[in-house]
Symmetry: C2
Subunit: 758 residues, 2 copies
């Protein structure tokens, strides 16, 4: 039995000892080191880029500017809209935009050469916020028509490219009749502001590219080896089998290491230099590379006096930053998830991606669900209090029941929402007291990716040593430990006998990527099918050798068990296959089996749910407040490895807590990031945690993954901020609608409350 065991991390010893290989550890003979020159302007025309002196600087082998991009390439990238240049051409659009790159014998030489590049800018007006970008007189950031496509949304949903100036994409969804608002006893309109975090993955973006002889070999800290290969294939107009992507361990990503980032620059430098090139960004450069989406969310919610939720219209603006990246998909997720896990008669959403002169925003843990939950769960609480109904009763009345469809035609929710809520409330030991309050919230998103196919392969040697081929990247989440447990369970062996073969796109079965908490629920199913097929092959082989029906046999520790008999498989295989033996091998394939005319979400694999309860104590004099208790739960369906689930839930809850309390990127009006480095960007320390901090991994058992599992790792982040904001209102009657929940805002709200009640 492997399932349910808290096996230690398979990668633990090598990571602790420093022996584990990350992309930064890849060293190729003749490898050069690259550094990037970045824009100092948030928005400017690039008048002159003169790299003449850099080209002859000591140790320099290649310089990449807009003048060095070979003809015939497609030197822009992006998920849906190809709008991000490998190096800036006519203009720069955010502080940090890449203007040039140098590959030299050493990093120091590359840095020295970059200083010799002369750049002349013509400053353009900067829009550093959603409001500035939408202002009547705002400059148009992308005058040319977008190159891209609208993801194919289903019924009730629509998408539009560039519906207006500075909006790269707009998602709309509609269910039911807006006329029901007229029947509502109350209609509440509220606006919420969501802050922007950085992913803060400890491993920076690193790529090592060897692009010679008509081939590209690349190692990269990337969550999505196959999509990266496809994007490189498109950019460099090379077949996909001329490109090999290898992904060693990845030191965290949280969404940022998707699609491509600086990989094309590394490839181009290698092509220009005719040598392998290592491009390792600093941690601080990560702030300039990809971020979460700040957002403004406006909700109009119609309810009955008894608390029944009837209708919700929402209008969301996401700050997409300088380039579109995954914004269209984040917009779809935020726009579709904003109603939350409640039963509605009418829903209407509009979510727009607003381009600004800030770092590009992209996938981030929670993927639109964080923004949506913050606004929705804040407003549900506000409405309950306005109606004089307890926030718990309000939710009990409206929460979707287990297996109830989220939207018409949609798959049913696969967690018991109320049970989870009762669990966190039972676990928090709240005693009412002055200036102390209790808040809670339910976070809600679909997991597993959209319509995502996954493939895996299992092969087993003569001696029972197992090889697992699967494209899920070990990004710290524990995939290399938990996924083999599924194989071990099915093959009746120990998880330690399973080797996860390093990812190499020439060999590894195709996978769309390590995102959307898909490892266990999506890849896990492909893996389980491969393992089951191998087990059946082995039993069939043994049955034929033994002249017995396979049903009478069982596999255990690479022995065939028949009644009391226990026959070693190795000798049986050698007898039949001779020579040096054999490997049993099978592929497993999984794809959500759904109607493709249904809305995209109808093809969702599972629902990822998080519940949080928070207790706060407020110092009315200073606005300082303490989260004295925080209890957060996620539903694993079935925990394949409880310890790893706990790690994911803890990390996710802490990320939500940090965003609630202080973690945020601060831009000035000129588009300058004011805290874009690890010293000034405040991430939580252990001492920042609530005095009582508990995460609970529920095992409600309804997941579609192997053994009833679901993915997790995002759900626990979602409800934390709203739970704390709700607790603040419970404690001192203030409502803060903007993240983070700083003492300054609390103090201001207390002042305003005092003024209002005075």
């Amino acid at each position: 039995m492997s399932i349910g065991l808290s096996l230690p991390r398979a990668d633990g010893a090598e990571k602790l000892s420093g022996r584990a290989t990350y992309t930064a550890d890849i060293a190729l003979p003749g490898m050069l080191h690259a550094k990037l020159l970045r824009s100092s302007h948030a928005h400017a025309r690039l008048l002159r880029v003169d790299a003449g002196r850099a080209r002859t600087a000591p140790g320099v082998h290649a310089v990449l500017t807009r003048d060095d991009v070979p003809e015939g390439l497609m030197p822009v990238y992006g998920y849906f809209i190809k709008d991000q240049p490998i190096v800036a051409t006519d203009r720069v659009r955010h502080v940090g935009d890449i203007i040039a790159a140098v590959a030299a014998e050493t990093e120091a030489q590359a840095v020295a050469a970059l200083a010799l590049i002369e750049v002349e800018y013509e400053a353009l007006p900067v829009v550093a916020s959603i409001e500035a970008a939408l202002a009547e007189d705002a400059p148009e950031l992308f005058p040319q028509a977008p190159i891209g496509f609208v993801p194919a949304y289903g019924e009730g949903a629509r998408g539009a490219l560039r519906p207006a100036k500075n909006i790269c994409f707009e998602f709309g969804y509609r269910m039911g009749d807006a006329a029901v608002f007229d029947r509502c006893d109350h209609v509440f309109e509220d606006e919420f502001r969501f802050s922007r975090m950085w992913h803060f993955h400890l491993e920076p973006f690193v790529s090592v590219a060897d692009a010679r002889d008509g081939r590209i070999e690349i190692w990269s800290s990337n969550q999505n080896p196959f999509p990266l290969r496809k994007e490189l294939s498109r950019i460099f107009r090379m077949p996909e089998n001329a490109i090999t992507v290898r992904v060693p361990y990845v030191g965290g990503g949280f969404g940022s290491k998707n699609n491509c980032k600086t990989e094309p620059a590394a490839v181009l430098l290698s092509m220009l230099a005719g040598r392998p090139v290592r491009l390792a960004l600093t941690l601080a450069e990560g702030f300039l590379t990809n971020t979460q989406h700040a957002a403004i969310l406006r909700l109009r919610t119609g309810v009955m006096s008894d608390g029944r939720l009837v209708a919700r219209q929402s209008h969301i603006e996401l700050d997409a930053g300088a380039y579109s990246d995954a914004s269209p998909l984040v917009a779809e997720k935020a726009g579709y998830r904003i109603p939350g896990p409640y039963a509605w008669e009418h829903v209407e959403s509009l979510c727009r991606c607003v381009m600004t002169n800030t770092a590009p925003a992209g996938p981030f843990r929670g993927f639109g669900g964080t923004q949506a939950t913050w606004a929705s769960e804040s407003q549900i609480d506000m409405i309950a209090r306005r109606l004089g109904i307890s926030p718990l009763a309000m939710r009990q009345k409206n929460l979707l029941k287990l297996h109830q469809a989220y939207m018409p035609g949609e798959s049913g929710v696969d967690s018991d929402m109320e049970d989870g809520l009762q669990t966190v409330l039972a676990a928090i030991h709240h005693t009412p007291a002055p200036d102390r309050g209790l808040g809670f919230a339910v976070g809600f998103k679909d997991g597993g990716g959209v319509n995502k196919p996954a493939q895996a392969r299992v092969k087993v040697s003569t001696n029972g040593d197992v090889f697992l081929g699967c494209g899920t990247v070990e990004i710290g989440q524990g995939a290399r430990t938990a996924i083999p447990q599924i194989v071990a369970e099915i093959l009746g062996t120990s998880a330690t006998r399973i080797r996860v073969a390093p990812i190499d796109t020439d060999h590894t079965p195709f996978d769309q990527g390590t995102n959307a908490s898909s490892g266990i629920a999506v890849m896990g199913q492909a893996v389980a099918r491969a393992a089951t097929a191998v087990r059946d092959q082995v039993l069939g082989f043994a049955a034929a050798q033994m002249g017995t029906p396979p049903e009478t046999l069982r596999l255990e520790d690479w022995h065939i068990i028949r009644g009391n008999e226990r026959l070693p498989l190795g000798p049986m295989i050698m007898r039949y296959y001779g020579g040096t033996g054999f490997e049993f091998t099978a592929d497993g394939f999984f794809k959500p089996d759904s109607d493709h005319h249904a809305p995209l979400e109808a093809q969702c694999v599972y629902w990822e749910i998080g519940w949080a309860a928070a207790e706060v104590e407020v110092d009315r004099g200073t606005g300082q407040f303490t989260v004295t208790q925080l209890v957060v739960a996620g539903d694993a369906g079935r925990a394949i490895n409880p310890m790893l689930c706990r790690g994911q839930d803890e990390g996710s809850a802490i990320m939500g807590y940090a965003q609630a309390m202080f973690e945020t990127m601060r831009y000035d009006a000129a588009g300058e990031l004011l805290n874009g480095d690890p010293l000034h960007y405040r991430v939580p320390l252990a001492e920042d945690l609530p005095a009582r901090f508990t995460t609970l991994t529920l095992e409600q058992g309804h997941g579609p993954g192997p053994f009833g599992s679901k993915g997790l790792g995002e759900g626990a982040m979602l409800p934390v901020a709203a739970a704390i904001a709700n607790a603040l209102e419970d404690a001192v009657g203030i409502r803060i609608t903007e993240l983070p929940l700083t003492p300054e805002r609390v103090l201001r709200a207390l002042d305003n409350l005092e003024k209002a009640t005075a």
Copy 2:
């Protein structure tokens, strides 16, 4: 259409330009360089090995002697009998036996350190030939009991380990009743001697090993990645999935790069040094590593006066050299093949592997068939002439017919023997003249390996770029060109769109090895099945998308063809699979489907046949003779790539020609190899070739491989020597029974003939 096209080598450009990666090109960070200290004695007790000074020599990181082999290892290797030590322990058994190894920062430092190792020998009597080893008073080379096993032979055959002193293995085969000899009109007994060649692969043996952290990663110039992995697993007592074998291009092997050679030493050095280690032998060290088997073959053949062959007894002694290596299997092949492609009533063979104090003998192109054909085809001619029957008529009377079983219960021969013979005779333009003669012969062996399973994998990206996973090593034979042609044909695409994924045992489908001409006939069938399965998947997918039966569809250039419609597959796949697409993937498996109680040869995949006709002109005064014409044919069944077939047949015929004429390893009685380096070992130059040299690749169409193909590359070597010896008799009436056919031997035979007829 790809089959039958002489496509240029896929690896041609990179090999010609020097960009192709061989093991010697692998460079790892921190890699050390290793060299070996070898025995100067052919047979001696090792009294003292003192490496103390070497250990502290400049740049040295590890020294491996018998004192440095860690406890718990199995420090010996071998195919069947584990008798070859990684480094010598108690004694050395041939000049060149490995006594120590040093890994240092540079090769020069390693060489310098080796010179500091002090070795004290106690010389033992040397046996440098079969006769010496079998002499009554010969020393016993392996006093201890053999560790090993007898390959499981079938009916009529038997194997015995160490049946007598200095015989490591003995193979016997018997069919029919020996009493038929009594009915024969004539019984002829003749003895033949077969010389020993070196493989002379231009790429020396090279390994790069990184054995740290409980894992072994190894790159090696090895024909058999999976058997190597298994042997390392056994030696180092590590699971097979803790070992990754990668094989880049291999620069020729001809059988020598089988199982393991110096790989274990490289691994041990890496373990000791804690750094990657590159162990590159010189070309000359190859002579000390593995060779062909010299042999003495005695035939007793019973015939009727009309030339009908009735019974043959044979007694073969192979010079196995110092260690058993593949000798048991070579013995089985020589012993079983010695009757040749003729119909017999009785066959009885005994083949013994004699241990001597010379380099270990192992697999060599022809694998026992060369020795057998030399003797058998010489004697058939001799008998014909003794009976006054033309050698052609003699063969016509006795040759097996197409599909006739070789031995009872054995698969039928799959070439038309007589047709091939007539073809080479028609192609040689022989006009009788004084001292000019014509000879011919038929070479015969089973191909494809014994009972050999093969697996392959084909995957195709959204855009139709194909990845082929297959364990066949590109060793110069053209596997990377011809095997993709099979895939291309089946998928209706161009062979240039197919990438052969580099061999990596973690990923690559299992294969028993690149030997026995198995690439096309065995692996080709696995590959064809994988490609067919992928094609069927794709057509099934398209049929479902189009709502049409798959039978109405065809695949061409990654388009679906239905009548006049031509639909690109890429968009169809993106519509269904979304995101970043998909890869169709399938495995193919092939294993000869035979009764495993039958003799091994009953499980043979196909028969590899070569025909040769030679014309010679002899200078009676000097014994000098010229091969004025040489025509050699092999049957490809169907030529997948005719140009590559021609390359194989030419190379094979030239190797046979060189062995017939001059190429041989010469040992003195002390076991010293007298010509063990590329300067003194005579290989053919272009100017050595016969004035008229023609090879013909026949396509008789009866092969079991894809599209009627068979393997080739060994058959053309087999008959050459006998054809030339037969031509010498035809020209001047002499019979030479020992290779090579030197002018000295010709002159001596002419002298003897003169004396006898005087």
